[in-house]
Amino acid sequence: MRKYRTSYPISWRIMDVLEAAFASIWPKGGGKYTPYLMLAPAILLVGALVVGLLYIGDSSLRVLDRSTFLFSDHWTIENYKRAFSESFTLTVIWRSLLGAFIVTFFTLLLAFPYAYVMVRTSSSFLRKFLLIALFLPFFIGQVVRAYGWLIILGSQGIVNDALGLVGVEPIRLLFNYPAVLFGLIQYMLPFGVLMLAPAMTAIPEEVEAASGSLGANWIKTLWYVIIPMAKPGIIGAGLVVLTLSLTDFAMPAILGGGSQDFIANAIYDQFFRTSDQGFGSALTIILIGIGSMMVGLIFMVFGAGTLALGSEKK
């Protein structure tokens, strides 16, 4: 290797090759297509699910014959009719929707301060502690975690034992709707915080200082400065929590005591218990329809551009 080469580091040369390669495959004036090309891999990846959805859509239009356990050859909308005529379906749809909104509201309420403190604290130890506290619960799994709750909140659990010391009769804290919502909020909290944190890091601390020096109290600063700036994160976190709680099945199954089913539980029953993939598929499609409509609505109300900050700046 000649000496003058050292002034031209290897990384530069790699970069040159990459630039050349990029220029050769990138169409001239392709700037217009840049965002779409960047989105293409993700769209393709989700495409795997869409192919799966085609199978599900197809079986949702076929009825199970219980004398052969095969599905009809022709298409019919019988499964959908059945779904909308059974009061049970409407009960679980309503229960899931209401639950998803309550859970989203409270999760954001708890996640916001958590993310704020985690990002703003000056202690690096505290920051890591807060981060690890978020990740730990994932590792014991939902079922074992629910067992943990039974030990804490059960009729003979720690809380009821403590209440017993002050003469309170054991109360049933689990196996009802609030218990399911509580479990979901606890499960969703880490997602909420982790979605909010990157948005928080993007807000410079000086902005707050400026707001404060202009005479705004902390509530005003929060409401007029931080929340608007963190909006992409809040919308992102809200969407994630809303859709995940709407489609959850583990928490209602474990903490609901069997009488607080969400739609996903009804779908599980059809796929795995009564072997009726047709009806299960119809319920799945209905749930996806409801979820996507809600998501679309949120994008419309808050604007698709909420997440596309750069474009607004231009």
Partner: protein, 368 residues
């Protein structure tokens, strides 16, 4: 519709005499005796339930099979309900199924048999040595071989019943059991006794089950907990419930784990059902041969004795010794005709055709 609560108990208990002796002598031999055995696969995959269930199978059937043939056995612990769509999809897509043998409830297995995904097992030599319990009802031949029976008993915490075992499901309607009773979340095991408890007739199943639903409504007012096998054990352990309608094996398992528990067959009777083994279509000739050999070996008296000692359940060959810890004589471990008089057995066909409706009706009431 075949309804067979009063199925012929003598037939059930009697070993088919003509082939009985022959059956015993061929126990250890391959069922389809050929000059040369097909190539041995390195392993067979058997779907099984976890915990005490798979341990019993391993000890009674799998380990002896490996010892005899040198074929390793891998146990797949996916739930029976959850393996079903996997197996069905594999057969539909002409893939090799993920398991060689499915240890399954007879009801679930019957669905697979009706769908035509089961290999026929009629040529297993040891079937000759089994009681009528081994034969699946409502399907042709032996797409499944039943391997034992079990009862959905009423398990209870003795301390909550100071006057002795509950005599009837009506006893659970007392105020003190508000929120302290548990059922399977689809009501399985409870539908038939509820029909009796509600004043209906078993003969009216499935045509008229109004009595059943009326009684389920009454039970709903008690706010029962609904769950699955592991939930019952957990709930008993943690003092959440005092009584549950569950399979006696779970009650026995909980008892072995130190929970103070007893069980009974109430005056309404208790649902009797069977589990079995079957082979999904789509395996190579040689794999199929050895999978059949495995099932054949599970029908020997030696295998049944060890396997069912672990489960605490009555088998399908004669002369088994009841396992320790099981109350005998008792209808929850039925061996005699008078035991079977206390039990309710509805044909697999009626069950698979109507089960979904029963499940959704039960859910509708309980989720309301």
């Amino acid at each position: 519709m075949s309804f067979d609560k009063k199925f012929n108990r003598r037939d059930l208990l009697k070993t088919s005499a003509a082939v009985g002796a022959a059956g015993v002598t061929t126990l250890a031999m391959p069922s389809v005796l050929r000059a040369a055995e097909p190539d041995k696969p390195s392993e067979l995959i058997i779907r099984a339930w976890g915990g005490p269930w798979v341990e019993a199978l391993k000890k009674g059937v799998s380990d002896p099979f490996t010892e005899k043939t040198g074929i390793r056995i891998k146990h797949d612990l996916t739930e029976d309900n959850e393996i079903q769509p996997k197996v069905w999809a594999a057969v539909a897509q002409n893939r090799t199924p993920p398991i060689h043998i499915n240890w399954d409830t007879t009801t679930n297995a019957t669905k697979s048999a009706l769908r035509g995904v089961c290999e026929d097992l009629s040529d297993l030599s040891n079937i000759a040595g089994t009681t009528d319990l081994a034969k699946p009802v409502g399907v042709d031949g032996y797409p499944i071989v039943n391997t034992y029976g079990y009862v959905y008993v009423l398990a209870y915490r003795p301390s909550a019943f100071p006057d002795g075992a509950p005599k009837s499901y009506h006893d659970l309607l007392a105020d003190k059991f508000q929120g302290r009773v548990a059922f399977y979340n689809d009501g399985i095991g409870f539908h038939f006794p509820a029909q009796v408890a509600g004043g209906g007739k078993l003969e009216d199943i499935p045509g008229n089950m109004a009595a059943c639903w009326e009684f389920v409504e009454k039970m709903k007012a008690q706010n029962p907990l609904l769950g699955e096998d592991p939930d019952f054990v957990t709930w008993f352990q943690k003092g959440e419930i005092d009584a549950a309608c569950t399979i006696s094996t779970n009650a026995l398992g909980a008892k072995k784990n130190g929970v103070d528990l007893a069980w009974t067959v109430p005056e309404e009777g208790a649902k009797f059902d069977t589990d079995g083994l079957w082979i999904p279509k789509g395996h190579s000739e040689s794999d199929l041969y050895w999978a059949k050999e495995y099932i054949n070996s599970a029908l020997t008296k030696e295998a049944q004795q060890v396997w069912l000692d672990g489960l605490g359940l009555p088998g399908v060959v004669e002369g088994l010794t009841p396992p320790p810890g099981v109350p005998v004589p008792d209808p929850s471990y039925p061996t005699k005709p008078e035991d079977f008089d206390r039990l309710i057995r509805i044909s697999g066909q009626v069950q698979v055709e109507n089960e979904s409706e029963w499940f959704s009706k039960f859910k509708q009431i309980m989720q309301g």
